[in-house]
């Protein structure tokens, strides 16, 4: 399992980064989403992988998946959801202002007014 999880984290991260390196906002946003899947799995796995244990408290359970990392992932999911919603809207606003959705601003300086 560990190999599967770590390779999945790796590919999600790589794909996320690759898309983040694109020059348009839409793929960048998708890249951020993939990256956040990657990191969520990463956090989850950082509590170590267990299979077939009860997800809730029962007496005499053999063990549990680390509940703390789960809680952390939950928080991370929620926050990244809010962030994604926000960047989508900002990107849309920028697109409506300019008529294109390139993420780079060609103007380093001088014409930024």
């Amino acid at each position: 399992m560990e190999y599967l999880v770590s390779s999945a984290v790796g590919l999600l991260t790589a794909a996320g980064i690759y898309l983040i390196l694109r020059r348009h906002t839409f793929p960048v946003i998708l890249g951020l989403a993939l990256l956040s899947y990657g990191v969520n799995l990463f956090i989850f796995a950082s509590g170590r992988i267990v299979v077939g244990v009860p997800p809730i408290y029962v007496t005499g359970a053999a063990g549990y998946a680390d509940p703390l990392t789960q809680a952390l992932v939950l928080t991370a999911i929620v926050i990244s959801f809010g962030m994604t919603a926000l960047i989508v809207m900002v990107a849309l606003g920028a697109f409506l202002e300019t008529g294109h959705d390139r993420i780079d601003m060609p103007d380093g300086e001088g014409d930024d007014q």
Binding site: G52, P54, P55, I56
Partner: protein, 89 residues
């Protein structure tokens, strides 16, 4: 016997998932791919239930319910987008 049947069913739905994946990647049309995803959700629900039987716990059934609901909503949303562009109009 049930275990055997369970494994069989698991295998079927698992194989089904791989077939869905193939259609998802092959297409050719977007509706096909959306259909593949929709079917994928159904197969996943089946897998969740089968695992529930195997582990003797129905704790994930609500998750399955939510999968069904969200799968439906996203299929409709994608379709609506392809039809109209605006999902909520």
């Amino acid at each position: 016997m049930i275990d055997l049947a369970l494994s069989f069913a698991l295998g079927c739905f698992g194989l089904g998932l791989l077939m869905n994946l193939f259609l998802l990647l092959r297409g050719p049309g977007l509706p096909d791919r959306v259909l593949a995803v929709d079917t994928m959700v159904i197969n996943i629900i089946a897998l969740i239930v089968l695992y529930g039987i195997r582990s003797g716990s129905g704790i994930n059934f609500e998750a399955a319910m939510l999968f069904a609901m969200t799968g439906f909503v996203s299929t409709v949303a994608f379709s609506k987008f392809m039809l109209r562009g605006d999902v909520i109009e």
